[in-house]
Amino acid sequence: MAGAAMLDHLQLGDHICAFVNGTDDGLDLMARAVTAGLDAGEKVLVFTEPLPPAAALAGLEARGVAVAPAQRAGQVRALPSHEAYQPDGRFEPARMLDSLTGYIEQAAADGYPGLRLVGDMPWALGEPAVVDRLVAYEAQVNRLFMEGCAVGICLYDLRAFGRGLLQEVACAHPTTLTANAEPEAVPLLRIRRTSDPYGLRLIGEADLSNEAALAAALDAVLDQRPDPAAPIVIDVEGLRFADANTAALLVRLALRAPGGVHVSGCHATVARAMDRLGVTQLSQLRLTGLVA
C-alpha cells in the first residue's frame, strides 16, 4: 500500500498499473481508488475477481466506503472481471475496447464528469493465449484513457503474476504503483490528447518503465489524426525527463507523419538530449523550447 497516496490524486486521463499483495491488499487499494472516484462525482465501475461483486462491495463497505447509497444512485457498479473481459469465455481486445468506449459514453450520457474504472486482473491468467494479448491490450487501451474522459486503475496481484509478465504489463501503463515504491503523489507520466492543435500533451517523465504506453499513444495519435497534412503537436512543456528512447519514438512518429511533428515547450535538458542524438537535424521534426 506504500505509495497509494497517488490514488487520491488521479485525474481523468490517468491509466495506472497497481501491484497488490493478495485479496485484502487489493481491497485496500480498491477502496482508496473507489473513494476518490465517488468524491470526484464520477461514475465508478469495478471489475472484480476472485471476489464476486457482492463480496467486493461488502469489503469496500467494511473499509468505510459509502457503497450502498452510491449503488442505489447508480453511481457505482461492480461486475465479475471475467464477465467484463471475456463475455463468451474469450478475451478479444478490440471488443473490450469497444465495450469500454460504451461505458465511458454512457457515463457521460448519464451526466457524470467521467468514468473511474477499477479492474482486478487475475482473469487474464485463465487462458495462456490471453497472456500474450494482455500486454498489447494494456498498451492499446491508452488511446481511450488519453481522451481524458476516464481513469483506469488496473490491479495486478503479485502473488498471481510472474515478474517478467508484470514488467511487460507495467511498461504498457504510463505509471506503475509498486508495493515498495516511494510515496509518490504524482503519476510518473500523464498522456493527454489535445485537439487544438491536434496532438498529445505529455506531463511527467518518460523512461523505459513506461515506453510501451508512450509508443502506443503516439501510434494512436497518428492513426486518428483528422488532417494528414497538418503537423502533429507533441506538447512537452510538462515533460521533465525524457530518455534516448523517447527521442527515438518521436523520430519514428515524425518519419511516419506526412505533416511532420512539432515538439513544443521543450525544457533545456530534454532539448539538449534531443540535440545530442541528432534529432534536431531532421526536417520532419520541429523542436521549440519553452516560451520565456
Binding site: 514488467q167 523512461d207 523505459l208 525527463f241 534516448a244 518519419l255 533545456a268 541528432g278 534529432v279
Partner: protein, 311 residues
C-alpha cells in the same frame, strides 16, 4: 603516397619532440590535403591548435579546427562525434584528420580509455577513405604510452622517417588488453539497487547526490540522463538488476554501475547513427557525449561501467 598504392584507411602516429617538429609533421600534411581537395579537420589540445592555426595563416579558414581537450575530453566520444562525424559529413570524399587525444595532462585514470580509443579507430575506420594522423609528444608523455602508440598505429612518423610499426596488433585485441578491473569504490560511496521499477528512484538518487555535491544544474541534468541510460541498459541487457554507486573524487562525481551483463561489442557506443535511423540502442553513445570519462570493465561474468563528471 602514390595513388596506386594508397590504402583506404591510413593511421600514422607522429612522434614529435618540440613545436618545430610538431609543425613540420602537421602543417605540410594539412596543406597537402587541401591541395588534393580533401576536407581537413584538426582536433588537438588548445596550445597546439594555436600553433597550427598561426602557421596556416589564411588557410586556417579552410580547416575545421577543434580543441581536443573539449571535444575529446572523454576519449570515448572522439570516434563518433569528432572523427566519424567528420567523415560521414563528407561521404563521397577522402578525408584527412589530425587527432591528438593523448596529452601530458591526461591522468592515469583517463589513459586506458585513451589507448582503447586509439586502438578502436582502426576497427571503426576499416575500409573508410580517411587518413588520421595522431601526434605524440615523446618529451612529455610517459614512455609506456609511446610504446602503446606502436601497438595502435600501423605506421610511425618521426622527424627523420616514416616506417611500419613492428608492434601494430589487432585493434580489438589491443583494446581488450586495457579491459582491466577497476579499483574498488571508496567505502563511503552511496549505493542504490537498479531494476525496472526503480529507474525514477535512481534518477532522484543521483540528482540529490549531485545537488549536494554542488554540481551545476545543467551538469546534474546531464548526469541524471547518463545514469538513466546506463541503468536502462542494465535492465534491458545486463541481467535486469544491478547496483549504482556514487561518490565524489578529485573535484568530480563518479557513478559506477555494476550488473551481470557482458558488453561484447567493442565498438558499442562509438558508431554514430543518423537521426532517421534512431532506435533504442543509443544509450551508450549519449552517455559518452554527456560524461567527461567512461571507464568499462566487462567480462562474461559481469560489467562495471564508471562514468565521471566534472563540476
Amino acid at each position: 603516397m602514390s595513388g596506386a598504392t594508397v590504402e583506404q584507411f591510413v593511421h600514422p602516429a607522429l612522434l614529435y619532440r618540440d613545436d618545430e617538429e610538431y609543425l613540420a609533421g602537421t602543417v605540410p600534411y594539412i596543406l597537402d590535403g587541401l591541395a588534393a581537395g580533401e576536407p581537413v579537420a584538426v582536433a588537438v589540445p588548445g596550445p597546439n591548435l594555436t600553433l597550427i592555426r598561426d602557421a596556416l595563416g589564411a588557410d586556417a579558414e579552410r580547416v575545421l579546427l577543434r580543441d581536443m581537450t573539449v571535444v575529446g575530453r572523454n576519449p570515448g566520444r572522439i570516434i563518433p562525434t569528432v572523427l566519424l562525424a567528420f567523415a560521414n559529413a563528407h561521404p563521397d570524399q577522402r578525408v584527412r584528420l589530425i587527432g591528438e587525444p593523448i596529452w601530458a595532462g591526461r591522468s592515469a585514470t583517463e589513459y586506458p580509455a585513451c589507448a582503447q580509443h586509439e586502438a578502436l579507430i582502426n576497427a571503426a575506420f576499416t575500409d573508410r577513405a580517411a587518413t588520421i594522423l595522431c601526434p605524440y609528444n615523446t618529451e612529455l608523455l610517459d614512455p609506456a604510452w609511446i610504446e602503446d602508440a606502436y601497438r595502435t598505429h600501423p605506421v610511425m612518423l618521426d622527424a627523420a622517417s616514416r616506417f611500419d610499426s613492428a608492434f601494430y596488433d589487432d585493434p580489438v585485441t589491443v583494446a581488450a588488453s586495457f579491459n582491466q578491473p577497476l579499483p574498488d569504490p571508496p567505502a563511503d560511496a552511496a549505493t542504490i539497487a537498479i531494476d525496472f521499477f526503480t529507474l525514477r528512484a535512481v534518477r532522484r538518487f543521483v540528482v540529490e547526490y549531485a545537488d549536494r555535491a554542488g554540481l551545476a544544474p545543467e551538469r546534474v541534468a546531464d548526469l541524471a540522463l547518463a545514469v538513466n541510460e546506463l541503468a536502462s541498459n542494465t535492465v534491458k541487457y545486463g541481467g535486469g538488476t544491478g547496483e549504482l554507486a556514487v561518490w565524489a573524487q578529485d573535484g568530480h562525481l563518479v557513478c559506477q554501475l555494476t550488473d551481470s551483463g557482458h558488453l561484447s561489442d567493442p565498438l558499442a557506443g562509438r558508431i554514430p547513427v543518423p537521426a532517421n535511423a534512431l532506435n533504442g540502442g543509443r544509450g551508450l553513445l549519449l552517455v559518452h557525449q554527456l560524461c567527461d570519462l567512461v571507464r568499462i570493465h566487462t567480462t562474461p561474468a559481469g560489467t562495471t561501467i564508471r562514468a565521471h563528471l566534472h563540476h
